[in-house]
């Protein structure tokens, strides 16, 4: 399983990547939406992208929209991981095509529970 962690905070990228790696993921990172989109369009095949909302150059919502429009990226699962906690923001992100939404701060258990919901916890971890 491969994941791309998109966040402009280096600390946040490391936290998310570490949790995912603990679940058996291989991870890569991007600092903003444009960098993530470039990586995905260049054929960086991933199962999951965790997406921060507020980032320079291209924000998370825009990234979600671009990924959803790209037929080649249809299999990619998108999870927003953001401090945006308003109900209306969650609705916007889901309507744009995000599959799940996790509000910061969160625990490793909460991230894992979201992955479980998406069927994205590697088998050996689901026992």
């Amino acid at each position: 399983m491969r994941a791309l962690v998109v966040d402009d905070s280096r600390t946040m990228r490391r936290i998310v990547a570490k949790i995912l790696e603990g679940l058996g993921y291989e991870t890569s990172q991007a600092e903003n939406g444009q960098e993530a989109l470039d990586a995905l369009q260049q054929g960086d095949a991933v199962d999951l992208v965790t997406v921060d909302w507020n980032m320079p150059v291209m924000d998370g919502l825009e990234l979600v929209g671009h990924v959803r429009k790209n037929r080649d990226l249809r299999s990619v699962t998108l999870m927003m991981v953001t401090t945006e906690a308003e109900q209306s923001q969650i609705v916007r992100a889901l309507a744009a095509g995000a599959h799940e939404y996790l509000i910061k701060p969160f625990t490793a258990e909460e991230l894992r529970a979201k992955l479980d919901l998406l069927g994205l916890v590697p088998l050996e971890e689901t026992a």
Partner: protein, 338 residues
């Protein structure tokens, strides 16, 4: 610090008498960790002295507090997924296909703890039944404190993050500070009542579906049989019983038959209230004669590409979000454009 043997024996006996739950030797740690907050609240530094203090008098309030502390179950929204998939995909269609259709559906969520199960049932039925069906859910537990919490319908972010798809969250909940409150229309469908499974259901019968999950495992054989017997009398003939994945009626009670569903432990009552016989012939020898056909598991949105074969789709998610596309927001919130 370990629990004195006489204290453990007394507590185990009390819980057996009052709730029918067996606490075997080796559960001393559980007793100590669950009762320590009660002991401290009552001014005791140790569980031993607290329990010895209440043992002589057995005031009902003390006894109830001890039993409640030891019988609270862990729960989460859409726990285990498959029972809710079975409810939507198998049980509701079968009930609807009966003569007269399904104008009213009564569901009992037994041992409902803090309410995640009955609200998950209500959310499932919001999609699975049409407006022509009125839904009533009776949710019971032995523990009044968890029932009070359940009736409020307010859950922390940690609780909603465990098992509740975001699409369901924004549709059926409203923000309440950093917590989330179940919307009024869903809350109105659920009635919370205190009930001991060892006593007859006081809230009328006629249930079409009973969820009794991860409860029987705590009981010894005679109590299991007694509980199943009481549940049977609360059901409509041909009603459905949903048990925990590790539980069965087989060998306990002849009043049920296993229903073939894709995943999960679902049984149908061969008789029901007042011992009436089910219109369906009992002891069906082959699944082909059962009204339910095993339905294929809802395909995961993530297996169509073949890129991630080593995952199992979560039944809870698959049940409600059948495609990988954003259309899973099947009922957009008013004012939001796609």
């Amino acid at each position: 610090m370990s629990l004195a043997p006489d204290v453990f024996t007394y507590v185990a006996d009390l819980v057996q008498r009052r709730a029918g739950i067996q606490l075997d030797t080796g559960k001393e740690y559980l007793v100590e960790s669950r009762l320590l907050p009660l002991a401290q609240e009552a001014g005791h530094a140790r569980v031993d002295t607290y329990v010895r203090g209440i043992r002589g008098i057995e005031r009902p309030a003390d006894v109830q507090a001890v039993v409640e502390a030891l019988t609270t179950n862990e729960t989460s929204f859409f726990r285990d997924g498959s029972p809710f998939t079975a409810l939507a995909d198998d049980i509701v269609p079968a009930l609807r296909s009966r003569p007269g259709g399904l104008p009213r559906m009564r569901v009992w969520s037994a041992a409902c703890s803090t309410g995640q199960e009955p609200y998950s049932i209500a959310m499932t039925l919001a999609d699975a039944v049409g407006p022509e069906t009125s839904v009533e859910i009776v949710a019971t537990d032995l523990n009044q404190a968890v029932l009070d919490r359940a009736a409020q319908g307010v859950y922390s972010r940690l609780e909603t993050n465990r098992g509740l798809p975001s699409a369901m969250l924004v549709r059926h909940f409203e923000a309440d500070g950093t917590s989330w409150r179940v919307r009024e229309d869903l809350r109105r469908q659920v009635t919370f009542l205190r009930h001991n499974l060892l006593e007859s259901p006081p809230f009328g019968g006629g249930f079409d579906v009973v969820f009794l999950r991860n409860v029987l495992i705590y009981f010894d054989l005679p109590v299991k049989q007694a509980v199943l017997d009481r549940v049977l009398t609360a059901m409509r003939p041909g009603g459905y019983l949903v048990l925990g994945a590790a539980e069965t009626t087989i060998g306990l009670d002849d009043g049920w038959e296993r229903v073939p569903v894709a995943r999960g432990a679902v049984y149908r009552a061969l008789t029901g209230a007042a011992g009436t016989t089910s219109p369906v012939r009992p002891f069906l020898p082959t699944p082909a004669r059962a009204p339910l056909v095993p339905t294929p598991t809802v395909p995961s949105p993530f297996t169509t590409t073949g890129t991630v074969p080593a995952v199992v789709p979560s039944a809870a998610h698959a049940a409600f979000l059948p495609t990988a596309r954003p259309s899973h927001l099947s009922a957009p919130v008013r004012g939001e454009s796609r």
